[in-house]
């Protein structure tokens, strides 16, 4: 599918999606709508994004993005979905571990480093750090002991 | 078949057992004299001084900026040159070996080739304070003509 087709397909699902052209096609959607969109483009035989090659979080100070880099082994197209989460105190998003199994570990990492909670995750736990630690990849994270500023 | 595969493996080890010439390991502390390094081998940062106790460092802090770990700290002072002008010169070139990752970025960054990597690789000391080194020798001066 070309980028234009993908755009129209996503707009059908999420009408207010914002697109950014870059290296890949970026689609910014609201966190609450991301799950149904991801599920549908995974199951749609025309898109069939079967390979989630990168899942990460980005902290833009006012809001978080959970970024899904998707590609399809069959159709050879790539798409980036950015789910926007505005709640900084208790950020939540639906887990996609049921769609792509790799998400299970990646979501643990995002939870550990950003504090974004994933609903319906099979086993949400701190992966690297202990339970009392803050969320180090947030931009407002401070640590006087372990971070030595140069 | 199965036994043949086992015998072929035993033939290899048996061959090495009977042809014991090539030695993979090094007798390290004993062969210190004969150890060879590539000329680019990164041991630790040193500042070469010539016979007049002169170095080439202008104190431009390019290495300090290039260093990813804050390993290098340059303390400068103002000096009055021969022509009466005030000139910036280094007072202390402080090098924290304990923080160095030997990435070579400071050497590449230096515009006057004042520092280089030595081949000394045995860095262990009993006191951590010894890892903080001052690279310019006392009373050393900058080589004339290096700006």
């Amino acid at each position: 599918m070309t980028n234009e087709d993908l755009k129209s397909l996503i707009t059908q699902h999420v009408s207010e999606a914002v697109f950014e052209e870059g290296q890949f096609l970026n689609a910014i959607v609201d966190g609450s709508k991301a799950f149904s969109l991801l599920k549908s483009i995974r199951e749609n035989p025309e898109t069939e994004f079967d390979y989630l090659f990168c899942q990460s979080g980005v902290d833009w100070k006012e809001f978080f993005y959970v970024v899904y880099h998707l590609s399809s082994k069959k159709h050879k197209h790539t798409l980036v979905i950015k789910a926007k989460i505005t709640d900084r105190v208790n950020p939540r998003i639906e887990s996609v571990a049921g769609i792509w199994k790799t998400a299970e570990m990646n979501e643990l990492e995002i939870f550990d480093l950003f504090g974004i909670k994933f609903n319906n995750h099979p086993n949400l736990r701190r992966l690297f750090l202990d339970d009392t630690w803050g969320f180090p990849l947030r931009k407002d994270y401070t640590d006087d002991v372990n971070i030595v500023s140069l | 078949m199965a036994i043949k595969s086992l015998v072929s493996g035993m033939r290899l080890t048996g061959y090495y057992f009977t042809h014991h010439k090539e030695i993979l390991t090094q007798e390290y502390p004993d062969n210190r004299e004969t150890l060879t390094f590539g000329e680019r081998f990164r041991g630790e940062v040193v500042m070469p001084h010539d016979e007049n106790n002169e170095h080439r460092c202008t104190g431009c802090t390019a290495c300090e900026i290039a260093c990813p770990n804050g390993t290098i700290k340059i303390l400068t002072k103002m000096e009055v040159g021969e022509d009466g002008k005030k000139k910036k010169a280094i007072e202390k070139f402080v090098y924290h070996l304990g923080m160095c990752t030997f990435c070579n970025l400071c050497i590449v960054a230096c515009p006057t080739d004042a520092i280089k990597m030595s081949h000394d690789f045995e860095h262990s000391v009993f006191d951590r304070k010894q890892l903080t080194k001052v690279l310019n020798k006392p009373d050393s001066k900058i080589v004339k003509g290096v700006e």
């Binding site: - | 086992l6 493996g9 035993m10 290899l12 080890t13 048996g14 090495y16 057992f17 014991h20 090539e22 030695i23 993979l24 390991t25 007798e27």
Partner: protein, 358 residues
């Protein structure tokens, strides 16, 4: 010619002429005990050194080369180090069993030394059921390993011990059956008589194919009984860290270590005695000149030569092969080695009855 038989006899006669028979027996027992223990210590040091050198040479390394000439005293230095190490025992361990296990293992290894004929007439105790004695006593060793694994209160140790139990119970069968083959050939269970029966040729040559099969099975089963690679499940370093002796330190660990090497020596000695003629020189039917030259080599050299050859083969296995998996190990025994041994025994019975062997 130099002979241990003369030496031991003359000592016995001299002692008998000096005192009563009870005192003679006591003194002789003391002498034998001292000899056995020193042989033990010496073999332990020698075999560990040998293993390290063999391993190093196969892996393009130098091996120990610091202490003594070419590192010969390295194992001695290691022993001294182990002696001075603190012997930890885990808090929740069963202290009595934990301390007793290494002693049991090493005592079993010592007991096994008794019926082995080192040279003509040089034997601690010429028991007339020697083969039976060896196969009976050698299986006690596993109890020590089970004790060690259980008392450590460590799951790795327990797994290692259970593996070892399953392994030795299984392989005892084919090892025993392959010994029975030679018993059938020679018609005796006494190790001395088995050696005597090989005066005109070793059983591995005289016994046709059945003896060869029995020898191969004995080597495989013996390796398994020794818990050595490729059957080192009880330790299985990459799986169970150190298996049954995970929690052992210092001299207690050294005892396990020593017992392993002594057992290896005994396994090789039994194999050499039964299949390769023990201290019997190599004789070929009617080449009397050749046979005569062979007779000049002392018996002890023949015995040790054969034993160390077998030990070398065991080491060669260890430094070449990967480890099997526990279920494959049991499959190998019960599905292959065991039926083959039984069938082989049948064949041997036929050969012996018909008198087909030389």
């Amino acid at each position: 010619m130099f002979s241990f038989y003369d030496i031991s006899n003359s000592i016995h006669q001299w002692l008998s002429s000096q005192m009563g028979s009870t005192a003679v027996m006591l003194i002789e027992m003391a002498i034998v005990g001292v000899l056995a223990i020193s042989l033990f210590a010496f073999l332990g040091l020698l075999l560990v050194y040998m293993e390290r050198k063999v391993a190093a040479f196969m892996q393009l390394r130098l091996g120990p080369n610091r202490v003594g000439w070419k590192g010969t005293l390295q194992t001695l230095a290691d022993t001294i180090k182990l002696l001075f190490k603190e012997g930890f025992s885990p808090d929740a361990s069963d202290k009595f069993l934990f301390n007793f296990a290494p002693i049991l293992v090493i005592v079993v290894a010592m007991l096994l030394l008794a019926p082995i004929p080192f040279a003509k007439g040089f034997q601690i105790y010429d028991i007339n059921i020697g083969v039976f004695y060896i196969s009976a006593v050698s299986s006690i060793g596993v109890i020590g390993i089970l004790m060690a694994g259980w008392s450590s209160n460590n799951k790795y140790s327990l797994l290692g011990a259970m593996r070892s139990g399953a392994q030795i119970v299984s392989y005892e069968l084919s090892a025993g059956l392959s010994l029975v083959v030679i018993v059938a050939f020679s018609g005796s269970m006494s190790l001395t008589q088995i050696v005597q029966s090989q005066a005109d040729g070793w059983w591995i040559f005289k016994g046709h194919i059945p003896a060869m099969i029995a020898f191969v099975i004995f080597i495989i089963a013996g390796t398994a009984e020794l818990n050595r690679a490729p059957f080192d499940f009880a330790e299985a370093e990459s799986e169970l860290t150190a298996g049954f002796h995970t929690e052992y330190t210092g001299m207690r660990f050294a005892m396990f270590f020593l017992a392993e090497y002594i057992n290896m020596f005994i396994m090789a000695a039994v194999g050499a005695t039964l299949f390769l003629g023990g201290w019997m020189p190599l004789h070929f039917g009617n080449l009397s000149g050749f046979n005569h030259i062979m007779d000049f080599i002392p018996h002890i050299v023949w015995f040790m030569g054969k034993t160390f050859f077998l030990i070398f083969v065991l080491m060669w296995f260890r430094w070449t092969f990967p480890r099997l998996r526990i279920d494959q190990l049991l499959t190998l025994e019960w599905k292959y080695l065991m039926p083959i041994s039984l069938f082989n025994l049948l064949l041997v019975a036929l050969v012996v009855i018909k008198g087909w062997h030389f």
